[in-house]
């Protein structure tokens, strides 16, 4: 009997905890979205690719000179290998965004003179979405993306 009441109690507690968290997460997302609309907002708090670009104060045009190499189907969403290379002249910076993550902007890479314009790294991809690469070359920004699908079961799709 005791065990049963205990179970019930803990179940109820668990439910309230998780719903509470969900609510706070949503509140956070909303406030972050509101923040990014203001000028000079932290681009790292942006919750969509558009907001992040706006917060960074850049507009990017599509380019086929950027290659985003990522698996079509991620085996492990927490570890998605991504390779980004570009043949754009004078590329100096690569910005990586994952479109469906709670905060989209995940990394910025700046190259020195001797470096090849490409990096390999691993990222977390929360939901099926795009891996977006923004490359700064000279004063202009170029972008390319690759869709990555994430399955929950991990047994492929």
């Amino acid at each position: 009997m005791k065990r049963r009441t205990f179970l019930k109690g803990s179940l109820a507690a668990g439910a309230t905890v998780s719903s509470g968290l969900l609510a706070s997460n949503m509140a956070f997302a909303e406030s972050a979205a509101a923040d990014t609309k203001a000028a000079g907002a932290d681009p790292y708090a942006a919750t969509s690719v558009e907001d992040a670009l706006k917060a960074l104060g850049i507009t990017a045009e599509d380019s086929d000179k950027i290659t985003v190499n990522a698996p079509d189907l991620a085996e492990n969403a927490a570890v998605v290998p991504v390779e980004i290379t570009t043949t754009l002249e004078g590329a100096e910076e690569i910005i990586v965004m994952i479109s469906k993550n709670p905060t989209v902007l995940v990394a910025k890479f700046k190259f020195g003179e001797s470096a090849d314009h490409g990096v390999k790294c691993r990222f977390k991809v929360g939901k099926s979405g795009d891996v977006v690469a923004v490359v700064k070359a000279g004063d202009k920004y170029y972008t390319a993306k690759k869709a990555v699908k994430v399955t929950k079961g991990g047994c492929g799709g």
Partner: protein, 104 residues
């Protein structure tokens, strides 16, 4: 420093130097919960990584928690055998790590 290992590999490949690094780091997003206590695990991530060769900048990067746990990084640069390659990083709690290798 001690619990965060930084592994670095450098080698010549097609006339360039390939730099590969793995850092042992939890990269907590601040959104995960501790299973036992139900409390949120605070954010803990590497936010700055710098790769240099002979004290010249090869790559600087700014990261957030969207980078995977135990981050992996690979970059090529035009270099030669004998170059001293160094990687150093900082996280949002002030921990640092570094590793240095000479290109064979």
């Amino acid at each position: 420093m001690s619990k965060f290992k930084t592994r670095l590999k450098v080698k010549m490949k097609d006339g360039k130097v390939n730099v590969k690094a793995i850092m042992s780091h939890p990269m907590e997003t601040g959104r995960r919960k501790d299973k036992k206590t139900g409390e949120k695990i605070p954010e803990h991530y590497i936010n700055e990584v710098i790769v240099t060769a002979n004290d010249k900048m090869v790559l600087t990067s700014e990261w957030r928690s969207g980078v995977s746990k135990n981050p992996y990084l690979s970059v090529n640069y035009a270099g030669k055998s004998g170059d001293k390659v160094k990687i150093s990083w900082k996280d949002n709690k002030g921990n640092t790590g570094e590793a240095e290798k000479t290109v064979k």
